[in-house]
């Protein structure tokens, strides 16, 4: 009897994120939409990693004999104004999208989470100040922040990542802080204090693991948002610079000018953006339902 009670305690004392479904099969049965999203994400990852081997052409190779070629057996998705193969550019473009998506989402959500937990932990004046700062950045127009970062530092992948990460931090701080406020009054935090743990140890070892649920949910949602924001910035000419293959960049200029005569140039890159973001959103939704059904409105 004792053993059973102890085992039960053991399970409930674990942070929420240990409790998600272990087998992929059961995940797919309960959340078919999430599984569909996961399949698309895996395909995107595969095409990004395997691009040098599976892409039919070099994404930068121009072929003026095949300018504006419609989809044919030689060029499955057609070519652009420089005769570059669209399929190959989309495959290499998924590298840019995923790199920016993952790095920006990870840094934005992580910095936000640390700030949120620290703010909730410290309380008092520090909490109040962090919250006012968060208010300011939430009220600040995102696109201006991104525009300013790119204007100050110039275009390029690392600057675009910074421009996308910055606006994500306050949002995540706010969400994680509200979860952390509940965690702070938990008995295990108190006992950690009593056991003589320092502030840093309490924050990183005891509080952070217990706000993993909102953190993971924000993280997956942010990957999609980052890909979308990167596409918008590149489309404005403020993101990744030519000739790097990037989906938003492929929609810029000639794709719009020649949309009537060469619609494939405008259709496929947009489809790639939508499908990529769609997949991350589907997966994120299922993950949210799986980890913590109470967070439905996040």
């Amino acid at each position: 009897m004792n053993v059973a009670v102890d085992a039960h305690l053991e399970v409930t004392a674990q942070p929420v994120w240990y409790r998600w479904p272990v087998s992929l099969g059961s995940f797919a049965r309960r959340w078919p939409l999430g599984a569909a999203g996961m399949v698309i994400i895996v395909l995107m990852l595969a095409s990004a990693v395997l691009a040098p081997w599976i892409a039919p052409y070099d994404p930068l190779e121009t072929d003026f004999a095949a300018q504006f070629s419609p989809p044919t057996t030689a060029h499955w998705l057609g070519t652009d104004g420089f005769g570059r193969d669209l399929l190959s550019r989309l495959m290499y473009g998924s590298r840019t999208a995923l790199l920016i998506g993952f790095v920006a989402a990870f840094s934005g959500a992580t910095l936000g989470a640390i700030l949120g937990v620290a703010s909730a932990y410290c309380g008092g004046h520090i909490d109040l100040m962090v919250q006012r700062l968060v208010d300011m950045f939430l009220a600040f127009p995102i696109i201006i922040l991104a525009l300013a970062v790119v204007s100050i530092l110039g275009t390029g992948i690392s600057n675009v990542i910074l421009a996308i990460t910055l606006p994500m931090i306050p949002n995540c701080t706010r969400v994680v802080r509200s979860s952390a406020l509940a965690v702070r009054v938990m008995p295990y935090v108190e006992s950690a204090h009593a056991a003589g743990c320092g502030s840093a140890r309490v924050v990183f070892r005891h509080m952070l693991p217990n706000v993993m649920a909102p953190y993971l949910i924000m993280l997956t949602a942010y990957v999609g948002q980052a890909i979308l924001l990167e596409a918008s910035l590149s489309f404005l000419g403020l993101g990744v610079a030519e000739p790097t293959p990037a989906w938003g960049l492929m929609l810029r200029g000639a794709a719009v000018e020649f949309a009537e005569s060469a619609p494939w140039m405008a259709i496929f890159p947009g489809l790639a953006i939508s499908l990529g973001v769609f997949a991350f959103n589907l997966f994120g939704d299922a993950l949210r339902d799986a980890i913590d059904p109470k967070l439905r409105t996040l």
Binding site: M136, I142, I143, I144, L147, F235, A259, I273, V277, F278
Partner: protein
């Protein structure tokens, strides 16, 4: 309640002041100023002229002085003159606000008309094919860039109808048809994304409300499904939806930079990009303060609306 309102109103001041400091510093950190931008392409470029122009615009004064003067103007609701055009900023913004406000309002109407029925239906038939269709439709709305949707719309018009929407903005009261022929399409493209956000919130809120005791009571006393949904569930589920709609509306006013570009609309979003590119400090500062104020006021308004709509909520 009055104390709460006063407290919130007072809190707006440090937030706006912070926003003012951020935009002021940010703009000055961006390399190059308006004088360089203006003379960059001209041939008559000499240092003396540059200095004279900087002095005329007040850019030679110490930074703190520029900030204090500007803030003093803002406090008296005088945003000054645009550095680029020389015209009053109030006027520059007013002509664009007309377009942006109309677009934001039309997109909100599209979003509400789509989101509330869709979200309700999805919640009522949770985990059936109807729910899945609505969810896929709304997640797709979040994933599709509205500028791409715009490009696709233009393509359809061109290929199927051989027609393109008018490119020049006509105010609604001058020629309603011409105005709607131009504005309907961006409103649909933006409204779709917006409705996706609101539909998801409606579904989530409805799911929560439908499990409440008072819904069971309503069913037990024999009320029909329609009456329960309209009178008991929807009213209670609308609060979080209102927040989303309010905040998205605030975002739409200044955030439609890319969509405006695709639809060739001369709204606030385009003005934002242009004025940053021209380093028109005064105009950017006024625009940022305007959008931040709208965001803060809408946020505050939604909170007050909460208390008004739900008597259980009382702010201390």
């Amino acid at each position: 309640m009055h104390r709460y309102i006063l407290h919130r109103l007072l809190l707006m001041i440090p937030t706006l002041l912070g926003v003012a400091v951020i935009v002021f510093v940010l703009m000055r950190v961006i390399p190059g100023d308006i004088v360089e931008m203006r003379f960059a392409e001209g041939r008559f470029f000499n240092q003396e002229l540059v200095e004279k122009e900087r002095a005329r615009l007040g850019l030679d004064r110490p930074l703190w002085r520029q900030f204090v003067d500007w803030l003093w103007g803002v406090a008296r609701l005088d945003f000054g003159l645009s550095m680029w055009s020389g015209g009053p900023i109030r006027h520059e913004i007013a002509i664009r606000l007309q377009l942006s406000l109309q677009l934001a309002l039309m997109a909100t109407v599209v979003a509400i008309l789509l989101a509330i029925p869709l979200g309700t239906v999805a919640a009522l038939w949770q985990d059936t094919w109807i729910d899945y269709v609505v969810r896929v439709f709304s997640i797709a709305g979040l994933a599709t860039p509205s500028f791409w949707l715009g490009i696709l719309m233009f393509l359809c018009f061109l290929i199927i109808f051989q027609w393109i929407p008018p490119m020049v903005f006509t105010p609604f009261w001058q020629d309603p048809w011409q105005n709607l022929a131009q504005m309907t399409w961006p409103a649909l493209a933006v409204g779709y994304r917006y409705s996706a956000v609101a539909a998801r919130m409606t579904r989530a809120a409805m799911l929560e409300v439908l499990r409440e005791d008072y819904i069971r009571t309503a069913r037990a006393k024999g009320l029909g499904q329609g009456r329960i949904v309209r009178h008991h569930a929807l009213k209670n589920a609308m609060l979080p939806v209102l927040t989303v709609i309010g905040l998205e509306f605030a975002f739409l006013l200044g955030g439609l930079v890319v969509t405006e570009q695709v639809f060739n609309l001369n709204g606030l979003g385009l003005l934002f990009v242009q004025s940053v590119a021209r380093r028109d400090y005064t105009l950017v500062q006024a625009l940022v303060l305007l959008t931040a104020s709208v965001y803060i006021v809408v946020n505050f308004g939604v909170d007050l609306l909460y208390a008004w709509l739900d008597p259980r909520i009382r702010y201390q």
